[in-house]
Structures are given as structure tokens and as C-alpha cells.
């Protein structure tokens, strides 16, 4: 199908979410704002995992780098929203560059364990230097930072619109990237690294590029999460937040532009509903992971792509 259809589909989702701002009831309005910020994280993760085939178990370190890069500058130096956000994004970009240079020397299972371990080391470091980071408790982002162009970011309406803006930018960027020559090389590496290398593509540099883009978008999401919802804590750098984007992307469909949002949306509501019933809401995440690997390895959007719309990006 022609490009007009999938641009229509993706821009349609963006328009739908914008309409949501005016029609959603207060509670769902807050939830969808949160889901859009988390979907940015999932889209970042998807560039590494879904498109390039880099299964990382440590993306929480990039999310955490963004969150703490932004939060610490704000907490200790009363920085404004834009410089603080920039600090978070730069922190994530630099961390993903360093981690990529080291971890991409490995592949497959080793890559999973190395990223897991780097991420664990960062999470423990955040807890260890409690004088600077407030350790396990975390800290509230000062209200001085949570203002942008005269808007109060703790206000529900502003929060939703900023989340929507970020989500739209990253969605369109992803759609552009995966249609671009670079994105196609990512997929070529995922499908057959040896063949892509033989054709003359530099596998290491391409994967490094993919990981840095992925880590930077994840950091953007972490920084935005702290800015919009006003809190930074070490939990967000923990293992659980490395597993979440994997779960969202698997559920929605790895290697599809819409998959991460669909996965984050479904999983958020599944966990939200079950946490009303029990404290053990992560049980849902566990069951979903097992069932997905067993019965739906392509994910929801991936199934649509496989059955109905083969060239959906």
C-alpha cells in the first residue's frame, strides 16, 4: 500500500490523541499523558530491539540517566526546564555512547547480560551516593524547574499537551528514520549481520548509531517523566524499568512504529486494573511475558502486519 495510507494511519493516531485532550475524563486524561511519555521510552527501546535486533536488558540506565541528568541539575542548581531537559538528554546520549562502545563488542546473550549488569551498577550507584541523589527515597523536582514559557507543568492540561507534543515528534521521527536508508540498514543487520557486513555496511558503527539514538530517546522520556510528573527515584533505574519497555514492545509488536504505543497502552491498563485487586500486579507482567513469547512473538501490531498489511513500517 502506498505511503499515503501509513502516513494517514500514524497522523490519525496523533490527531486522535490530540482530540483525547478535550474529551477524556480527568482520570483517563492523566493516564494517557503518562502512557504517551512511557510510549516515547518504548519507541526508543524499539529502535534498538525491534529494528536493529539489539536485545538490551538495561535500558533503564538510559531512562534513569535522563531522569537524573535533568533532576539533579534542577534539584541542586535550580536550573530552568529547558537546560535541565538538555542535561538529561546529553547524559543519556553520552552514557549510551560509552555503553555501546563497550557492550557492542558482545552479541546475543552476552549483550543482554552486559547491559543488565551496567544498568544494575548505575542503579546501585544512585542508591550509594545518597548525599547527592537522596538514595532510595528519590526527590521531588523543584517547582521552579517545572515552568516553561509561563506554563505551569504540574497543571494537568499543560502536562498532557507537552506529553502529546513529545510523543508526536518521536513517532514522526521514528517513522522517518525507519523508512530512511539508515533504518533499512538497521533492519538488514537484524536479519543477517554477516550479509550486511559483506555488502559493505559497517556493522559496529551502525549498531552504535542505533543504540545512541535509542538511548537518547529513552533519556528524553526519563527526563520528561521527571519534569511532568515531578519526581525522580532510583526505582526508575532498576531492573523493572528495563523489563517494561521490552514487555511493551513485545506486546505491541517489535519492529513496528505503532507497536510500542499499543503495547504501553494495553500493559498500562492491565497493570492499572490488576493493581486495584492485588499488590502483586507484576504477576500480570510475568504472565504476559511468558504468553507472548509462547503464542504471540510478533505482538499485536506485528500480527496485523503479518496478516493484513505487509509493508506497514
Amino acid at each position: 500500500m502506498s505511503a499515503r495510507y501509513y502516513w494517514g494511519l500514524h497522523l490519525g493516531l496523533i490527531a486522535l490523541l490530540f482530540a483525547g485532550h478535550f474529551v477524556l475524563p480527568a482520570y483517563q486524561h492523566g493516564n494517557v499523558a503518562r502512557i504517551m511519555v512511557l510510549a516515547v521510552y518504548a519507541m526508543g527501546y524499539n529502535i534498538a530491539f525491534g529494528y536493529t535486533g539489539l536485545l538490551s536488558l538495561g535500558h533503564a540506565m538510559f531512562f534513569g540517566a535522563g531522569m537524573y541528568g535533568m533532576g539533579l541539575l534542577s534539584y541542586h542548581f535550580d536550573a530552568g526546564a529547558l537546560p535541565a531537559m538538555a542535561a538529561g538528554i546529553v547524559a543519556g546520549a553520552m552514557l549510551s555512547l560509552v555503553v555501546g562502545l563497550l557492550a557492542l563488542r558482545t552479541a546475543g546473550v552476552s549483550f543482554m547480560i552486559v547491559t543488565l549488569m551496567f544498568s544494575q551498577a548505575l542503579a546501585m550507584t544512585l542508591v550509594y551516593f545518597r548525599d547527592i541523589t537522596r538514595g532510595d527515597e528519590g526527590f521531588v523536582i523543584p517547582s521552579a524547574t517545572r515552568r516553561l514559557w509561563g506554563m505551569d507543568l504540574s497543571d494537568e492540561a499543560h502536562r498532557y499537551l507537552i506529553a502529546w507534543g513529545l510523543f508526536s515528534i518521536v513517532l514522526i521521527f521514528t517513522l522517518w528514520l525507519v523508512r530512511h536508508r539508515w533504518g533499512r540498514v538497521f533492519v538488514a543487520l537484524r536479519e543477517n549481520e554477516e550479509r550486511a557486513s559483506l555488502l559493505g555496511y559497517d556493522a559496529f558503527r551502525t549498531k552504535l548509531g542505533a543504540l545512541v539514538i535509542s538511548g537518547t530517546i529513552s533519556a528524553l522520556s526519563g527526563a520528561a517523566y521527571a519534569l511532568l510528573f515531578g519526581y525522580a527515584g532510583a526505582t526508575f533505574a532498576g531492573v523493572q524499568y528495563s523489563i517494561f519497555p521490552l514487555l511493551w514492545v513485545l506486546l505491541g509488536g517489535a519492529g513496528t512504529v505503532l507497536g510500542p504505543f499499543v503495547g504501553a497502552l494495553f500493559m498500562f491498563y492491565l497493570i492499572d486494573l490488576s493493581s486495584g485487586v492485588t499488590d502483586a500486579y507484576m504477576l500480570i507482567a510475568g504472565v504476559a511475558l511468558v504468553l507472548l513469547t509462547l503464542f504471540l512473538p510478533q505482538g499485536l501490531v506485528g500480527e496485523v502486519k503479518r496478516r493484513l498489511w505487509r509493508d506497514l513500517p
Binding site: V114, L250, A280, M282, L283, T293
Partner: protein, 333 residues
């Protein structure tokens, strides 16, 4: 130690400082010994748990992320068995040491048949599925057992004061410094781990079942051609691996209380051990467990346990980055 000529010196600082050094040394020795004993207990439990992880990787070539939860289940089941069986702590403990590994091993074998077999043991999908299994086991424990940490009474627990040798005024002398002691149970844990690991080694090298496992490890297709039921071997190996973790959990629970989140740290440490020792190599695993357990015990006593874990984690990640082939059994995985 002062030389006779310096005795009348009125300056108190150098002499005083030297005396201070001497006292520090006197305290440091017993303190170090205490740290090493704690480290040895940790090393024993770790060796048992990590050899389970290593066995599973060696034979099946999959990384079991849920291994820490089998350890936790062992501890929780030990609590359950000891609180429902009467007849004194010793009998209850023996029952727990038999029942908990059997139940956990059976559960793991079932998980292998229901989940891992259907994934064809694809390395990456298996990791994702065992992450799911991790949360299922952990959260199911939270729902049934609760969020409390609960103790298990050790079968025996005599306090043993330990002697220390000191160069006293009348030559070498034994004495018992205050605070330098261990319990008979901790010594038993070390002994039990040594016996169990020796038994595991004998089982793998001398028994027919061990031979079949090693044959499957070397070449699964060839083993199938010789009529070895590889699928059943995999289920058994996964069960035995989990059973070893559960046994480690049973042994540690009289020292450390049973808690539904205790699997996380244990998993991280076992990963560190098997990677340093070389995944799949039992001998390497034991050496690494002693190394990591002892140094973790010693560093944690003198410095911060978190710092020890941060350094160990980073070190292991770098080992994997720079020596992957040597540590993953020769294959560039």
C-alpha cells in the same frame, strides 16, 4: 618493641602511635578471620546455587533468569515445611531439606516442559520467558506467603568461641577475643556444601544419568541418534539446577530470613560467579564462588556492601566485554 635507648624519651607521640598500631593489628586479625568465616558461608551457598545455574547453561545452553526465584522458593518452602511439621527443629529441618528441593525441582521441570521446550530453547526467547517466570514465581509468593521476612529455627545452633594466636609476653599464646565466634550451624553449612558439591561432581562423572547429561551437552543431535530422550534430559537438568538453588535456599534460611525478594541479589551474585568461572564449567564455578564469596564477605565487613556489589558488577561486565570467548565455553555467543 621500643629499643632500650629510646625508653626515657618524653615525646609521647611516636611511642603512643606505635602502641596504637599494635592494638589495631591485634583487633584486625580476629576481625579479618570473622569476615572470612562469614565469607566462607556465603561462598558455600553461592557455590551450590551457581553450580545449578552453570549446569543448566552447560547442558541446555540457556540462561535461566528465574534461578534466583528457585532459591527464594527453597527458603520459603523450608519455612512452610518447618512450621507445619512438628517433632523438633532437627527433624523439621531434615524434612525441609528433602522436600523443598524436590518440590522446586519438580516445578522447574514442569516449567521446562510447558514453556522452554516449546521455544526450542532459543537463547534470547528463553531469557525473556524466564524473566516472565521470575515475576510469576516472585509475585505468586507475595500473594500467598506475604511480604514479611520469616525466620526458620536452625536444627542446632551452638555458639563456638574461636581462639586467636597472639605473640604475648611468654611467647605464642592462645586466647579467645571477645566477639570472635561462629555457630555450629554456620560450620555445618560450609561442610554440607562441600559434601553436596562433591556428590554432584561424582554424579556427573560416575553415574549413568550424569553420563547421559554430558553426552547431551556435547552433542544433542548425536545423543538423540543414540536413543537418548534429550527432551526428558533437559527437563531433568532444569529440575536438578533449580533443586540445587532451592537447597542453597534451605541452607541459608536459618541464617537469613525468608523473604519474597531475596532472589534478586542471589541471582546477581550467581551470575557474577558463573561468568567469572566460565559458564558451564563446574570447577571454574566453585573457584569463582569461593573468590567472590570471600571477597564479598571481607569487603562488606570493612567497606560498604553496596560498593562491593557495584565494583563486582562492573568488573564482571568488563570481563564479559573483553574476554567473552574464554568465559562462555569457547563459543562466541
Amino acid at each position: 618493641m621500643d629499643m632500650p635507648g629510646t625508653a626515657p624519651c618524653v615525646c609521647p607521640l611516636p611511642g603512643g602511635a606505635r602502641a596504637q598500631d599494635a592494638t589495631d593489628f591485634m583487633d584486625f586479625g580476629p576481625y579479618l578471620m570473622l569476615a572470612m568465616l562469614e565469607g566462607a558461608v556465603l561462598a558455600s551457598v553461592l557455590a551450590l546455587m551457581a553450580s545449578g545455574l552453570s549446569l543448566v547453561f552447560g547442558v541446555m545452553r540457556v540462561v535461566n533468569v528465574a534461578h534466583g526465584e528457585f532459591y527464594m522458593l527453597g527458603a520459603v518452602m523450608a519455612w512452610a515445611v518447618t512450621s507445619f511439621i512438628g517433632g523438633g527443629p532437627a527433624l523439621a529441618f531434615i524434612a525441609a531439606a528433602i522436600l523443598a528441593p524436590l518440590l522446586v525441582g519438580g516445578l522447574a521441570a514442569l516449567a521446562d516442559i510447558v514453556i522452554l521446550k516449546r521455544l526450542n530453547y532459543d537463547p534470547e526467547r528463553t531469557i525473556v520467558a524466564t524473566i516472565g517466570l521470575l515475576y510469576i514465581l516472585q509475585q505468586a509468593t507475595l500473594m500467598s506467603y506475604g511480604a514479611d521476612a520469616r525466620p526458620v529455627v536452625p536444627p542446632f545452633n551452638h555458639r563456638i568461641a574461636l581462639p586467636w594466636i597472639e605473640w604475648g609476653e611468654g611467647g605464642l599464646a592462645f586466647y579467645f577475643p571477645w566477639g570472635l565466634s561462629t555457630t555450629s550451624y554456620k560450620l555445618f553449612v560450609i561442610g554440607a556444601a562441600v559434601v553436596l558439591i562433591a556428590a554432584l561432581r561424582l554424579f556427573m562423572t560416575r553415574s549413568r544419568a550424569g553420563l547421559i547429561m554430558r553426552a547431551t551437552q556435547l552433542d544433542g543431535d548425536m545423543a538423540t541418534a543414540f536413543g537418548i530422550p534429550v527432551e526428558r534430559v533437559y527437563a531433568a537438568v532444569f529440575g536438578v539446577g533449580a533443586g540445587l538453588a532451592a537447597l542453597a535456599g534451605v541452607l541459608i534460611v536459618p541464617i537469613q530470613q525468608a523473604h519474597y525478594l531475596m532472589g534478586g541479589d542471589a541471582l546477581l551474585l550467581s551470575f557474577i560467579v558463573v561468568i567469572i568461572g566460565g559458564l558451564g564449567s563446574l570447577a571454574g564455578t566453585i573457584v569463582a564462588a569461593v573468590l567472590i564469596g570471600m571477597s564479598d564477605g571481607i569487603i562488606s565487613v570493612f567497606f560498604s556492601p553496596t560498593l562491593a556489589k557495584i565494583l563486582a558488577t562492573l568488573a564482571v561486565a568488563l570481563v564479559l566485554v573483553f574476554r567473552p570467548q574464554g568465559l562462555f565455553g569457547g563459543k562466541g555467543r
